[in-house]
């Protein structure tokens, strides 16, 4: 039997009228990256904050590395680390001071704390910025010092709450490299993200969360397969043609086509490819110009659409 790092039953957190986390059951095995995927306000961060003992559940149970998050919170704290929007470093202090502070709090004394801080600054490429105040760091450097602060002692389980939100592609790749290095070292990483490609790139297993509930679970390929083996992507040149194209395709292929946040795009799961050529000819006959017409594996975006009936990005404003 595989050892579980996180085990929950009916875990619930309520804020006023909102059930931020609404009875989630999870069993996450040790090793690798577990992705927590969902739009803003889905409950990802609330769940992570409960696992890291920052807030207490209103109902249900959770065990992290075998310890109850309420009754044995201190044991949990000694084995996990948290980095993210909500667990950060002191902006007024320098990078080195921040790491020395955390090192001292873990019991390193004087010179040992400084040594440990310098070791981490070196490993994360922050030597040059060591004595600068963190508020003067770039987004990527800021994220690296946040992660370094979580690794002063090696955690068995690391929570990363939206580690790449707001980063440019280069900085994002650096964070991805760091996560891969951690996993190779044997740390289990639990990652929340609203970026589908990030979960696709990093996560061995993914839990899709929406409105505080887990709506799907599995590997990236399993999730894609659950939507259907193939997907049809159509993008019209002019957005006013979209509805016409939708009608023609629905007639020719006998399927319902979904829309995404892209006003020119249509998408549908497609098991039977036999009518595709005919459908394409019908579109041409109706003088609908196409930017794209392709068959392929569904993306996680489409998985989310299929699971929730709306695109993943839709709720960003609402949060």
């Amino acid at each position: 039997m595989t050892e579980l790092v996180i085990e929950t039953a009916g875990l619930t957190k309520v804020y006023g009228d909102t059930r931020a986390v609404d009875g989630i059951d999870l069993a996450i095995p040790r090793g690798g990256v577990h992705g927590f995927l969902g739009p803003n306000g889905a409950g990802k961060t609330t769940a992570i904050r409960m696992f890291a003992t920052l807030i207490r559940p209103d109902a249900g149970h959770a065990r992290v590395l075998g310890h109850d998050i309420v009754r044995a919170a201190d044991e949990v704290r000694s084995k996990v680390s948290l980095t993210g929007q909500f667990a950060s470093v002191d902006e007024d202090l320098s990078g080195r001071e921040n790491l020395r502070l955390i090192a001292k709090l873990f019991g390193f004394r004087g010179a040992a704390a400084t040594r440990r801080a310098d070791e981490l600054l070196g490993a994360f490429g922050l030597d040059d910025a060591a004595d600068r105040q963190v508020k003067k760091y770039s987004g990527g450097m800021r994220r690296r010092i946040d992660i370094a602060a979580s690794l002063v002692v090696s955690p068995e389980l690391l929570f990363l709450d939206e580690p790449t939100t707001g980063l440019d592609p280069r900085a994002r790749n650096e964070v991805w490299d760091i996560i891969r290095a951690l996993v190779r070292h044997g740390t289990t990483v639990m990652l929340t993200t609203q970026y589908l490609d990030e979960a696709d790139q990093l996560a061995d297993r993914i839990s899709v969360i929406d409105h505080g509930r887990i709506i799907a679970e599995g590997t990236s390929s399993e999730l894609k397969a659950s939507v259907g083996s193939g997907t049809l992507h159509v993008r019209v040149m002019r957005r006013q043609d979209r509805d016409a194209a939708r009608d023609i395709l629905a007639r020719e292929l006998g399927i319902e086509l979904g829309t995404t946040h892209d006003p020119q795009a249509l998408v549908a799961g497609l098991e039977d490819r036999s009518g595709v050529t005919r459908a394409l000819a019908a579109l041409e006959q109706a003088h609908i110009e196409l930017a794209q017409f392709s068959l392929g594996q569904p993306t996680l975006d489409e998985v989310f659409l299929a699971l929730t009936g709306r695109p993943a990005e839709d709720e960003e404003e609402a949060a």
């Binding site: 704290r77 470093v89 202090l93 001071e97 709090l105 019991g107 070791e119 994360f124 290095a181």
Partner: protein, 279 residues
């Protein structure tokens, strides 16, 4: 170009892996050690943001000069005669007034996310708060010394001497540390630094002005005398005056210490209860 980037990435991940492996976890530090470490953090912040000392330097000087020269002539005939009465009181007032910054500083920490980092660490739970209040005690000490120096400069000659003044300041610091727990509790239940400052100012106003800091309560109407009488700040001021004037202090020292213990017991407990699950 892309190979260099790949090599860089390889080197970086190797460095991170080795930084993870090289560490041996030290023994868990004591409650005192972590509290002192947080106090050290507060002092580091003063180094980086020296404006933080504005409230403990300029404010006490302003208070002392303003109240001595504003009321001195009217109340005691001349500022020089008034200073003997008001010096211990204005010291108490200056220190207690700036304790309310503790609350808004804590709220800023919570909002910036630093606080969650601290709460996620395996340390004695109250240590971030205790350390913060210890750091503040250093700021209060600066305020006390500055107030005392200003008073001395304009003619205050306390009969208690250095020892008496030091004992008085020590008592004020104990009370200020204890009062700080009200503000830590407020910052865990209110959402913005502004709201905390508002409630704190509202609370401090009757405590500081409805007391014997500025005038002898015997001239006040009965209802106000009754309030001044039960106000713990009046007891503190009486005790500090006695210590600084070299008079053997009465029961007020014990009463002030009892109030301090009570504040820590009540608001310390409330703070730690909210600390488990703040908003």
């Amino acid at each position: 170009m892309s190979t260099t980037t790949a090599q860089e990435a390889e080197l970086r991940t190797d460095a991170i892996a080795s930084a993870l492996t090289s560490v041996t976890r030290p023994a868990r530090p004591s409650a005192l050690a972590t509290s002192v470490t947080f106090g050290w953090r507060a002092l580091l912040k003063i180094k980086h943001v020296p404006e933080q000392l504005f409230d403990v330097t300029v404010f006490p000087v302003m208070m002392t000069l303003l109240f001595t020269y504003l009321f001195g002539g009217a109340i005691a005939g001349s500022p020089a005669d008034y200073i003997a009465y008001i010096a211990p009181g204005v010291l108490v007032q200056s220190v207690l007034f700036i304790t309310m910054y503790t609350g808004s500083n804590l709220r800023t920490d919570i909002d910036r996310g630093v606080f969650d980092r601290f709460r996620s660490l395996p340390i004695w739970r109250p240590s971030p708060l205790v350390g913060m209040l210890l750091g503040d005690a250093v700021r209060f000490m600066v305020a006390s010394i500055i107030t005392a120096l200003v008073c001395l400069a304009i003619g205050w000659r306390p009969a208690g001497g250095v020892a008496g003044v030091a004992a008085g300041i020590a008592l004020v610091l104990v009370f200020a540390f204890s009062l700080g727990w009200i503000w830590t509790f407020l910052s865990l239940i209110l959402r913005t630094p502004q709201a905390i400052m508002g409630v704190a100012g509202f609370t401090l106003m009757p405590l500081l002005f409805g007391s014997n800091i500025f005038v002898d309560p015997s001239t006040m109407p009965g209802w106000l005398q009754a309030w001044v009488d039960v106000n713990p700040v009046s007891d503190l001021v009486t005790a500090v005056r006695a210590l600084m004037d070299g008079i053997s202090p009465g029961g007020e020292v014990a009463i002030s210490l009892a109030w301090s213990a009570g504040l820590v017991a009540v608001f310390g407990s409330l703070t730690m209860w909210k600390y488990r699950d703040p908003r």
